[in-house]
């Protein structure tokens, strides 16, 4: 059965700046991909054009049709995860098959408290 997935160690989804984020990307494909990339990135979500910044990338050229790839990255000090009415900033790890672009991602929160800052609520 075909699958592409990301798992984060200890099922963690709340991180603080400077924390380590580690886990495993795994896949079982029906056709081989040219490249598989595992990425740590953040992006904006909302009304306007999405901004994306990729901080870390693990690139596997000519990957096996079935496999796993571990990752272990240190998170930066900023930006924090937040949401307002117009924009959210979201952190994620994703595994992407190229050239098809098929992807699976895992979203997490990174703030000093580990919880998303919601603008306008004081939380």
């Amino acid at each position: 059965m075909k699958y592409v997935q990301i798992s984060i160690d200890n099922n963690a989804s709340n991180f603080k700046p400077g924390d380590q984020i580690s886990g495993t990307a795994s896949w079982q494909l029906e056709e081989s991909a040219k490249t598989i990339e595992v990425r740590l990135f953040f992006y904006t979500e909302g009304k306007g054009t999405r901004d994306i910044e990729v901080l870390e990338t693990l690139q596997l050229d000519s990957p096996p049709i079935s496999g796993t790839q571990q990752f272990d990255w240190r998170l930066p000090q900023s930006p924090y995860s937040f949401s307002g009415k117009l924009i959210s900033l979201i952190w994620a790890v994703e595994v992407v098959l190229l050239p098809s672009g098929e992807a699976e991602s895992f979203e997490f929160q990174m703030t000093p408290t580990g919880k998303e800052i919601v603008l306008g609520t004081g939380s």
């Binding site: 979500e45 909302g46 307002g84 117009l86 098809s100």
Partner: protein, 181 residues
């Protein structure tokens, strides 16, 4: 309602892919092949040209190496001489090309050239993109399910206000949803 929960947020809209209105994907791809993969996708702002070009890239990327150019007001015009002949070239926003660049691009031998423009150009038109209130309703239904019925009149009004530009209509609906959510 926070931005990431808004059903009209850009990432949610981007999950809705091009749906041919008066043709099929097979017919489109067959016509494109007949045209030697040299064609234009023509239509006004917000009519789905970029979405269609992206979806064509996805279809064709198994067979071709794609060289993608997205031309905006801020982006530099690409140097045609730098384009690899073995690439299929896709240009989103080819209206920005001047006469000379068009000349060079049309003469350049590549595996294909597919562009989006607002008006017909010196390439065969693959498809003329257009929108309808029914298409907007279908998109709304994809985004918010049965709630689409509740905003049908508002959607029709916004469709007329923006002269069928679905991008602008969906931006307005984002604000509406943010206010009531």
């Amino acid at each position: 309602m926070i931005a990431r929960a808004n059903p009209f947020a850009v990432s949610k809209i981007l999950t809705i892919r091009y749906e041919p209105q008066s043709t099929t994907w097979d017919a489109l791809l067959a016509r494109l092949q007949l045209l030697g993969h040299r064609a234009a996708i023509v239509g006004p702002e917000g009519s789905g040209k970029t979405t269609l070009l992206e979806d064509l890239a996805s279809h064709l990327s198994q067979k071709f190496s794609i060289r993608w150019f997205a031309l905006t007001e801020d982006s530099p015009i690409p140097a045609v001489s730098d384009i690899d002949p073995d690439h299929l070239v896709m240009v989103d926003g080819a209206d920005r090309f001047g006469w000379l660049t068009w000349q060079k691009l049309l003469r350049k031998k590549t595996r294909g050239l597919i562009v989006t423009t607002h008006t017909p150009v010196r390439l065969n038109t693959l498809i003329q993109c257009s929108t309808t209130p029914e298409l907007l309703s279908w998109i709304n239904y994809k985004l918010i399910g049965e709630h689409a019925n509740e905003i049908e009149k508002l959607s029709d009004r916004l469709f007329r206000k923006h002269r069928g530009n679905l991008r602008d209509v969906l931006r307005d609906l984002y604000d509406v949803w943010a206010a009531i959510g």
